[in-house]
């Protein structure tokens, strides 16, 4: 099997990448190029491996570890291959990007970072491919720990360490639920091999418990509200290409896990499973995008938008489960295709956005978009790629985001077939409306981000001095942005892969969407005229543009005078430009119950009231879930701990007393047996 060999080669390469930094650590340049080249080759190998699996069928491999659980192996079926493909594509791009971006870190522990970067890719690959409970959990936790170190890489900033701490604790809590879910299945099956785990072997109650555990466990990793608090902290803290990987791929490991459980292990469940997921999903989407919209730190903004997109993906999964439980395989197939399609899309454009943010950060040394502006002239290519991916993430045609969003909408449209009755109808309608709200908010959010960061005049000195990013970074962004367009125009390619990915799972018929002509997107119900055609859309847009150009030039070529903006007679400067704060003000006011910003104050920095007033506008947003949920819990725990500590008073008499009491108690208790 070529795929198997490629797999081992890939593992070998990534491990080599980890080891290589030990030898090259003296020379930063060398470290950068060698380590990241290895990562690049490894990622490409991953892509090839995935392709071969799709061509030749699933392969099984054995991992070189000796643990008291018997032989531990991996198996790369289509689902694994699909996610392997994602790792490969994004990993390759980020590796190229790293050539340029790592120069920031030449005197900031680059060897460590490069090594961890390779290890991170390795761990993610393993998570997607291993087929043994213990191996999965080891890979899973290793992934978390490695990314934790990467988040904490710039530990000179206290906030990063804090973020890393919250991240590792949250993810550890999540892992507990995952372990519980796995063990419950494993004792049912009497084996820890994935192939043996079957939901049919455990009781109904434990199936429900497993479902809840999976939801919490993987939901924590995915950043499902209200378990998302680590995400907007951790992602910005990591180096940008790592943030790209974390948002683009690592979050998807959770989706992968959910798919494994819901499609393979647990089997079809009651309707409330899917419904619960749907509810959580829509909450996640709306909350995420709201917080993204009011955010000024561009990387935090992107992180919150990841939360939103996870919500959209979960919508697909939830709907799919509902359809599975009501025996509608075709619709289930569509739903899961929508989810997985969006998984890939989000991996692409979110990576580009994070890379773009990284380029901006490198050029202007700030993540605060209020400080930026006018970058479109300084960094034209970055701007283009950022714009393309913004359009994609805003789900605008003719880009890939639109396709997956359209599919999701279709799925929700047909939801009443599963959730019959008026409530089902109203529920679905609300879901659609809220998804629409999410989409609009996302569009607004990225209009704001791009408009404030890249357009108009620079708002600070460093923004004025910004320069275009290094060629490798541009190449990396270009590749992925290009893929965004391709997948937007050529949905059939992805849908074919998806249909194969979902083929073998029970209760799913994924063939419905693959239509005969390359550009078309068939309707979920297969009826002839329910679908859309990307070709038509692009054609119409082009013809419209032509008409516009004709109109524009029909009356000869008019002169174009160039002049300053009229600002009531004052020389225009950047103080007059609209700010991100202002841009999101109205939304902050309408949704104040969720994104309530307390103490919005205007401060006069200049002590003289009348002459040379210098006004600053301060906003502090109250993060609902921190203040309302996590801080109280934290306080309570610490208080209890303080109280409990009073048992160790230091009095030896008391200590001996404990022994006496214990003895007597046990003696009395033992007489009962």
């Amino acid at each position: 099997m070529i795929a198997g060999d490629l797999y081992y080669l890939m593992l070998l390469l990534f491990s080599a990448g980890v080891v290589s930094v030990l030898f090259t650590r003296s020379n930063a340049k060398l470290t950068n190029y060698i380590a990241h080249s290895i990562a690049l080759v490894g990622s490409i190998t991953a892509i090839l491996c995935a392709i071969f699996v799709f061509v030749q069928g699933k392969v099984d491999v054995v991992l070189p570890v000796a643990l008291p659980f018997g032989p531990i192996g991996g198996s790369i079926d289509y689902l694994s291959a699909y996610f392997l493909l994602i790792v490969g594509v994004v990993g390759a791009a980020t590796s190229i990007y790293a050539y340029g971006y790592s120069q920031e870190y030449y005197n900031c522990r680059l060897p460590l970072m490069a090594g961890l970067y390779n290890a991170f890719l390795l761990s993610m690959v393993l998570v997607f491919t291993v087929s043994h409970v213990v191996a999965f959990i080891i890979a899973w936790e290793a992934m978390s720990v490695i990314s934790f170190f990467l988040v904490n890489h710039e530990y000179e900033k206290k906030v990063n360490t804090r973020a890393a701490y919250i991240y590792i604790v949250m993810t550890h809590l999540g892992t507990i639920f995952i372990i519980t879910a796995f063990l419950l299945l494993a004792i049912g099956a009497g084996s820890m091999e994935f192939s043996q785990l079957k939901g049919s072997l455990v009781s109904e109650t434990s199936r429900n418990i497993i479902f809840v555990c999976v939801l919490i466990g993987f939901g924590t990793k995915a950043g499902m509200v209200p378990l998302h608090i680590w995400l907007p902290r951790a992602h910005p803290a990591a180096p940008s290409h790592v943030s790209a990987l974390m948002s683009g791929v690592m979050l998807k490991t959770a989706i992968y896990g959910m798919c494994r459980f819901f499609l393979e292990f647990l089997g079809t469940g009651p309707v409330w499973w899917g419904t619960l997921i749907l509810v959580l999903a829509i909450i996640t989407a709306v909350i995420g995008v709201l917080f993204a919209f009011i955010e000024h730190d561009i990387k935090r903004l992107l992180a919150y938008s990841s939360v939103e997109n996870i919500g959209i993906i979960l919508l697909g999964i939830g709907a799919g489960m509902v359809f599975m439980s009501t025996q509608q395989p075709v619709l289930a197939g569509v739903a899961f295709s929508a989810a997985l399609y969006h998984v890939f899309n989000h991996a692409l454009f979110k990576s580009v956005l994070f890379m773009g943010a990284g380029a901006v950060l490198q050029a202007a040394h700030t993540k605060n978009i209020e400080q930026l502006g006018g970058l479109i002239k300084k960094m034209p290519y970055t701007a283009v790629f950022f714009l393309v991916s913004s359009l994609a993430i805003a789900a605008l045609p003719p880009l890939n985001g639109f396709i997956s969003e359209w599919l999701t909408f279709q799925v929700l449209l047909f939801l009443p077939q599963a959730l019959v009755g008026i409530t089902g109808k109203v529920f679905s309608a609300l879901l659609i409306a809220l998804l629409g709200l999410t989409g609009a908010l996302a569009a607004a959010c990225f209009v704001g981000a791009f408009g404030i960061a890249f357009l108009a005049k620079p708002r600070s000195k460093q923004a004025t001095e910004a320069i275009e990013a290094a060629p490798p970074m541009l190449v990396a962004m270009g590749i992925l942005a290009g893929l965004c367009i391709v997948l937007g125009l050529w949905p059939r390619a992805m849908l074919t892969i998806l249909s194969q990915t979902l083929m073998n799972f029970p209760g799913i018929d994924s063939m419905g969407l693959v239509s005969h002509d390359w550009y078309a997107l068939a309707s979920p119900t297969g009826q002839s005229d329910g679908g859309i055609s990307t070709a038509t859309i692009i054609l119409l847009l082009l013809s419209g543009a032509i008409v516009a150009i004709l109109l524009h030039s029909i009356f000869g070529k008019g002169k174009v005078a160039v002049g300053e903006v009229w600002t009531c007679g004052i020389v225009p400067n950047y103080h007059m430009e609209y700010t991100a704060t202002g841009f999101s003000k109205s939304i902050r006011m309408v949704f104040k119950s969720i994104v309530h910003s307390h103490d919005e104050t205007v401060v006069n920095a200049n002590d003289n009231q009348y002459h040379g007033r210098k006004l600053f506008y301060h906003v502090r947003v109250r993060y609902l879930f921190d203040t309302a949920l996590y801080r109280p819990i934290n306080k309570a725990i610490i208080r209890t701990a303080h109280f409990m500590k009073s048992i160790q008073t230091g009095s030896v008499q008391l200590y001996v007393g404990y022994i006496m009491v214990v003895t007597v108690v046990i003696l009395i208790w033992s007489t009962g047996w």
Partner: protein, 489 residues
């Protein structure tokens, strides 16, 4: 073989005596290094013999695979501990914390402690085992009080008081067990030899045996550091010289657990299994739970580690209590992993406290910048001790939890997982606080760590990392045989 055993018992005495007569630090170091090497290698030889030739009995001495597991721990820890002491204690000497006479006494007592530990693991008789266990307490008492400052004295006093009271109860239990044996066969017979006891265990009077086991469990449990008898543990660990803390939590606790197991083997034939399981599981879970608040809110680095020992002994006893093959296997493996990881952590804590001249966590900052290697290993160690993959402790923890599940105690399993998460949160919090953050101005500005100390840490950490992904076959088989012994097969 018998000679080998005697040799192993004799060596530490010899080393101790010779080191009492040394006059230079160099000579002292040489003697102890060679001594420890010899002791460890002889122990390794014993373990090897057991793995190939099975159990072996010689006069009052008896070793089998169960002892072999503990002996292999002992072999590793004796070597690393002595190796670490070489540079650590010398630094104390240079800093003027101790005099040369004290140094000599240190090595003397250390070897006595080693002797008692070996004898605990090699005697074949519950009564003698009691004597040996009590002897470990007494031998280590002066080591706890080594610096003879106020807190050291206090710690030692509590250590002896609490432990001896506990051990007295164990003696009471042993006496009752003896009574049970005597009332079956005459007193002239192989008294308290556990092979005999195990043979006839089914004939013993359940009521007395139960009574006896309660006392024995409370007694040895005190030494094992089970809550609520653990109270001596943090004091002793935090005041003793660091190598001793490592030995205490690595070996002494494990040896006490070993004593519990030995008695368990005898009694489980007659006592209601439910009762035993509830008792042990109860103690185990309670120990884990009690450790949490002290780890969540802690100011003293060594106490932090000490409470983590309480937790881990809880896990071990829990594993034994669940009582399936799988769980006991896990418990034994957990003993090994914990011993190595915790000793490594204590060594690092020792170096850190020496460089920063404080045990106060709040004053320790920027480890990775002051001493990169130790800092990194410290983080790894903390991750390992909190049961994060891919390190050994995760494997054994996972096995025990898995056993809890497969024995139908799902709630117990996931509950324990949650408790462990609490401990993880606490440990990581302080670990990050110490490892990162700003580089201190004056403290540990130019940290100099002795080669031997570094070596011992590297060995231990290396072992932690290896055992995470690779459990050698001989160890695997040995553990399975030991498990069979504990199961009473």
């Amino acid at each position: 073989m018998g000679e080998l055993l005697l040799f192993a018992l004799f060596l530490p005495i010899a080393t101790g005596l010779t080191s009492m007569f040394q006059t230079t630090t160099a000579a002292l170091k040489f003697v102890n290094l060679t001594g420890s090497l010899l002791i460890s290698s002889s122990l390794v030889a014993i373990v090897y013999n057991i793995t190939v030739a099975g159990s072996f009995s010689y006069k009052m001495l008896y070793v089998d695979d169960l002892s072999a597991v503990l002996l292999s721990i002992l072999a590793v820890l004796i070597f690393t501990a002595v190796l670490f002491s070489l540079s650590y204690m010398e630094k104390d000497l240079v800093n003027g914390h101790i005099t040369f006479a004290m140094l000599r006494r240190y090595y003397g007592l250390l070897n006595v402690l080693i002797f008692t530990l070996i004898s605990v693991l090699t005697v074949g008789n519950l009564g003698l085992m009691w004597v040996a266990v009590e002897a470990t307490t007494l031998a280590s008492a002066f080591l706890v009080a080594f610096y003879f400052n106020h807190s050291a004295l206090e710690a030692a006093w509590k250590y002896i008081m609490v432990c001896t009271v506990g051990i007295c109860l164990a003696l009471l239990g042993t006496t009752l067990l003896y009574y049970a044996q005597v009332s079956v066969v005459g007193s002239d017979f192989q008294a308290l030899n556990w092979l005999e006891l195990t043979k006839m265990s089914s004939e013993l009077d359940p009521a007395i045996v139960k009574l006896a086991f309660v006392f024995i469990l409370v007694g040895y449990g005190t030494k094992t550091g089970l809550a609520p008898m653990h109270t001596w543990l943090p004091d002793a660990h935090s005041q003793a010289p660091t190598p001793i803390s490592a030995l205490l939590s690595g070996v002494v606790l494990s040896c006490a657990a070993y004593a519990v197991m030995r008695n368990l083997i005898v009694v489980q034939a007659v006592i209601n299994h439910e009762f035993l399981q509830y008792l042990l599981i109860g103690f185990g879970v309670f120990s884990i739970a009690v450790a949490i608040p002290f780890i969540l809110v802690q100011h003293d680095l060594k106490r932090l580690l000490a409470y983590s020992s309480v937790e881990h002994m809880g896990i071990v006893i829990l594993g034994i209590g669940i009582g399936t093959t799988w769980s006991i296997y896990g418990a034994l493996l957990h003993m090994i992993n914990h011993a190595i990881a915790k000793s490594a952590l204590f060594y690092m804590a020792g170096v850190i406290t020496q460089e920063y001249q404080t045990k106060n966590i709040a004053r320790i900052r920027g480890l990775v910048s002051t001493m990169p290697l130790v800092g990194t290993m410290f983080i790894i160690g903390i991750l390992a001790i909190t049961g994060t993959p891919p390190f050994g402790i995760f494997i054994s923890k996972f096995i025990i939890i898995g056993a809890a599940f497969s024995s139908g105690r799902m709630l117990l399993g996931s509950g324990v997982l949650l408790l462990l998460a609490g401990i993880f949160a606490g440990m990581m919090y302080y670990c990050l606080a110490m490892a990162f953050g700003p580089k201190p101005k004056y403290r540990a500005a130019n940290a100099t760590i002795g080669k031997p100390a570094l070596m011992s840490m590297i060995i231990s950490v290396g072992l932690i990392i290896v055992t995470g992904l690779y459990v050698p076959t001989w160890l695997n088989d040995m553990l399975y045989r030991a498990t069979a012994i504990v199961m009473g097969g």
